[in-house]
């Protein structure tokens, strides 16, 4: 998707956020770009082509995921089948949400980005989180940055909330240290 600033209102329009579940969002992914007024898939939209239907990597323009904090965006992307998004940059909240849902936001340079967009439709690109590299069809390996903690969480299945819960003594001590010095609200 060679477009900059793909926002969360396009990834999943707000009218689908009335759900109380995380499930069933794949059909709504890019809904307003993907279907016509009658709800039929637009044949030329990338996700409706065989290439898009089977894709696990989404290649997109700069500043992907800008806009809202809705975690429905990575939920919809992963339910559709995406495991990674490659861009030159990501919006902060989207990036954090993606990493918490095993959707890898991969930042590459403008040069690599342009090279990826120039690849033929059938090209395969390999992503390896452990070595933090993507391998292009010609064998070129390109490194990408990943937050070290997020990488550990993804590779070792570390549950972030579980990790924070283990810090209970520190949290309790912090709360105790502030009693009387910081106004409590209610």
């Amino acid at each position: 998707m060679p477009m900059n600033n793909i926002d969360t209102d396009q990834i999943i329009p707000a009218r689908f956020l009335k759900t109380t579940s995380k499930e069933g969002l794949d059909k709504q992914l890019f809904c307003d770009w993907r279907y016509d007024a009658e709800g039929n898939p637009k044949p030329d939209f990338i996700l409706n082509t065989p290439r898009g239907q089977n894709a696990s990597i989404l290649l997109a323009g700069d500043n992907f995921g800008c806009g809202s904090s809705r975690e429905h965006a990575p939920w919809a992307l992963t339910q559709f089948g995406f495991r990674a998004v490659i861009s030159t940059s990501f919006a902060d909240i989207f990036k954090g949400n993606a990493l918490k849902n095993s959707l890898l936001p991969i930042v590459v340079s403008h040069d690599v980005h342009a090279k990826l967009f120039a690849l033929p439709a059938e090209a395969m690109v390999k992503v390896d989180l452990a070595s933090q590299t993507i391998t292009l069809p010609d064998g070129t390996r390109v490194e990408f940055p990943v937050d070290a903690f997020s990488k550990t969480c993804l590779l070792e299945g570390v549950d972030e909330l579980g990790w924070i819960l283990k810090q209970e003594p520190a949290i309790a001590a912090f709360e105790k240290s502030r009693v009387g010095s910081v106004n409590t609200l209610l």
């Binding site: 900059n4 600033n5 926002d7 209102d9 956020l17 307003d32 903690f149 810090q167 949290i171 912090f174």
Partner: protein
């Protein structure tokens, strides 16, 4: 002050680090967690599945704003999916012991309107909410940012978040605003200048004479749209304007606690000599009313400027983006937006639905009639704004002018509740996002100030408010 000079955001950050260890982000304590119906149900479900409780229900406040109708509140919600979501929040709050300013509460309102209004949001606090416009609360000198639903669950369970510190970015707005120019124009001008990804990875701090001259509600408008510049948070140093605003509000400290709090808050402003990672200057004297023409908030121009020509842009993706936006908006490049017909005017949202916003729109509309071709919706941000508006006779002014004056909520900013544009319609909207379909599938949004919106409501075309002041 000992040690290195620090910025406002660094001071707040440093005061909230619970735990630091190599290889992990900092564990940050959250002083106030605001919750609404859209981004919380899956988080509460997560707690249930793990058998966890809410650690600090006393620091957690809920309201209902996104999914609810802005029509008669005594009637049931017609949309069953929205009704279920609203009921779910009420059930979750009951089960987990959280105070909920729900649909029928006298304090219901848009989460970013009621936080400051109730005095919940205070200087030096960390404030989070599953909503990107949480940046609003930075207007009082809090470090406030939006989080996803997984993080909502983390905060509910532990009152903490794992975060890496952001870079600091000072936005210095010099001079003073001319008549017809307001807080909204400052933030639209900033985003037009730095782009919608320009603040990514940073916390903005707004400084300068044009910022300190703003009242608190104007400051909230500016901080609110920090996220449209890509920054998770935007802050303004607390000062006497801040303290006067908070004094006496329901959850603000009282008596000796108040004095102690103010003394503490006075130490928060950025130290002399503190370094920012980035700075920009905006000349407030030269600012004109701003309006967006395109499909992201960075596509903004002065009200009398021409819509840009894609051929003037060299970057191919940027050029494509301009062409695509022009097609979606069905606009001609090179022509001014002023004079373009509008179908709807929306005055509301967490950006511009506070009493001062309603006052400035009413001042334009008083004794006049809106163009009969235009649907004009005025949606107060909270029940408190609604009460204050009644006390000042504003609903009568809006209704006499031909506006549709409604009940508090997010309404047509996000179009989740049935308040929406029809495909192809144009709106001048005081909200914060003009993304494709944001105000309804196929709808086209021009973002502007309440003054510009009210002026355009009168004429039925995009109007420079200074022509009718």
């Amino acid at each position: 002050m000992s040690g290195n000079p620090k910025t406002l955001s660094q001071k707040v950050w440093d005061a909230h680090v619970v735990h630091d260890e190599p290889g992990a982000p900092s564990l940050i304590y959250v002083d106030l967690h605001l919750v609404h119906e859209v981004t919380s149900p899956q988080a509460f479900q997560g707690l249930r599945e793990r058998g966890l409780r809410v650690r600090r229900p006393d620091l957690t406040i809920a309201t209902t704003d996104h999914s609810i109708p802005t029509t008669d509140r005594s009637l049931p919600i017609v949309d069953p999916i929205a009704a279920n979501q609203v009921a779910q929040l009420e059930k979750n709050c009951q089960e987990f012991g959280i105070r909920n300013f729900g649909v029928h509460s006298e304090d219901q309102g848009i989460v970013h309107v009621i936080g400051p209004e109730l005095g919940l949001t205070q200087p030096g606090m960390t404030v989070v909410c599953g909503d990107s416009h949480t940046a609003t609360h930075g207007a009082v000198g809090a470090l406030a940012f939006g989080i996803g639903t997984s993080e909502v669950e983390n905060v509910l369970a532990t009152q903490c978040l794992l975060q890496r510190p952001s870079k600091t970015f000072r936005v210095n707005v010099t001079g003073s605003l001319k008549p017809g120019v307001s807080a909204k124009d400052i933030i639209l001008a900033l985003i037009a200048q730095i782009g919608i990804g320009g603040g990514t990875g940073t916390v903005l701090e707004y400084t300068g004479s044009a910022i300190t001259a703003l009242d608190m509600e104007g400051r909230m408008t500016v901080c609110n749209m920090s996220i449209e510049g890509g920054a998770r948070a935007g802050m303004i140093a607390p000062d006497d304007t801040t303290f006067q605003y908070l004094d006496g509000r329901r959850f603000a400290p009282k008596g000796a606690d108040w004095d102690a709090a103010v003394a503490r808050w006075r130490t928060l402003p950025t130290d002399a000599g503190a370094k920012f990672d980035r700075e920009v200057i905006i000349n407030g004297d030269a600012l004109e009313p701003m309006i967006t023409w395109g499909t992201n908030p960075g596509m903004g121009i002065s009200i009398n400027a021409a819509v840009p020509e894609p051929s003037s842009v060299s970057d191919p993706l940027e050029r494509d983006a301009l062409s695509k936006a022009l097609r979606y908006m069905d606009l001609e490049p090179g022509k001014p937006l002023a004079g373009h017909a509008v179908d709807v005017v929306f005055i509301g949202s967490c950006t511009n639905s506070r009493i001062s916003d309603l006052r400035s729109a009413a001042a334009i509309l008083k004794g006049r009639k809106v163009n009969p071709r235009v649907r004009v919706m005025v949606v107060p941000g909270s029940m408190e704004v609604k009460r204050q508006a009644i006390a000042e006779g504003l609903p009568e002014i809006f209704r006499a002018a031909g506006c549709d004056y409604r009940e508090p909520g997010c309404s047509m900013c996000i179009a989740m509740n049935g308040d929406q544009l029809e495909p192809g319609q144009y709106s001048v909207s005081t909200s914060n996002r003009n993304f494709e379909g944001r105000q309804g599938k196929g709808g086209r949004t021009f973002l502007a100030s309440p003054l510009t919106a009210a002026a355009s409501a009168l004429t039925g075309v995009v109007t420079d408010v200074r022509t009718i002041l």
